[in-house]
């Protein structure tokens, strides 16, 4: 398993569109993707799960990825979050 703590940087946080992008990307990988925030762990392949985190700008989330393609999955998801979900702000 690989884990990484990441700060949400985009203005709107993990709002619906960002959550959909994250989940769509997570679903491309075989590995399981879990996201933790403040002790809550959710399935990163579920939009509803991801929305329950209410991760606003500046929140810290931890990705926990386990499986054959965990390295590339972590790299891709980290890039999406750090690139602010390709939003302008």
């Amino acid at each position: 398993m690989v884990t990484k703590k990441i700060t949400v940087k985009n203005k709107l946080g993990l709002h619906a569109r960002a959550a959909v992008k994250l989940v769509n990307l997570a679903n491309r990988f075989e590995s399981s993707v879990k996201i933790e925030k403040d002790g809550n762990i959710i399935d990163g392949k579920s939009v509803l799960g991801t929305l329950t985190l209410a991760a606003t700008k500046g929140s810290s989330i931890t990705l926990r990825i386990a499986g054959k393609d965990e390295e590339i999955a972590l790299e891709s998801l980290e890039a999406l979050i750090n690139d602010k979900f390709y939003e302008n702000e």
Partner: protein
């Protein structure tokens, strides 16, 4: 911060049996009903906000849940609505299933915090299959509100 869902949902914004059978009409119908109940003053602004957002990416999620929403300064606080369409409507959802449970939010441009918080609380609840079943089995507004309390 925990949000009191029950406080945000009442007789005036829970709609049991939507009549419309297309995505656009469902959105219109929910906004029209919010106008009738006095929650929304500027129908056109709210409608445009939600439809514009919907064009960017569908809010049809998974497990029959859709969350159409928009931002407009024609409202000064978070407006919410919960509506059901038991037969389901094609909402261009992520998992390809028809949508049966509609959670709408209209919020002021500058304040997205309460909207994200509301969606988080609702999602927490609707992740449970039992909650979705109870909603779809509800025959009165009170029964719907009970699921959220």
């Amino acid at each position: 911060m925990k949000m009191n869902l029950k406080k945000l949902l009442g007789k005036e914004n829970v709609f049991l049996d939507l009549k419309s059978s297309s995505k656009k009409d469902i959105i219109k119908e929910m906004i029209d009903r919010l106008v009738v109940s006095g929650k929304i003053k500027d129908r056109e602004a709210a409608l445009e906000a939600v439809l514009t957002r919907e064009e960017k990416m569908s809010t049809g999620m998974e497990n029959g849940i859709a969350i159409p929403h928009g931002k407009t300064d024609s409202v000064d606080q978070l407006i919410t609505a919960v509506a059901l369409k038991k037969e389901g409507v094609d909402f261009d959802s992520m998992d390809g299933q028809v949508s049966t449970i509609f959670i709408m939010t209209i919020s002021p441009q500058s304040r997205s915090g309460p909207h994200i918080q509301f969606l988080a609380e609702v999602s927490k609840l609707l992740k449970e299959p039992e909650a979705r079943e109870m909603l779809l089995a509800a025959r009165t507004v009170e029964e719907v509100i009970r699921v959220f309390s």
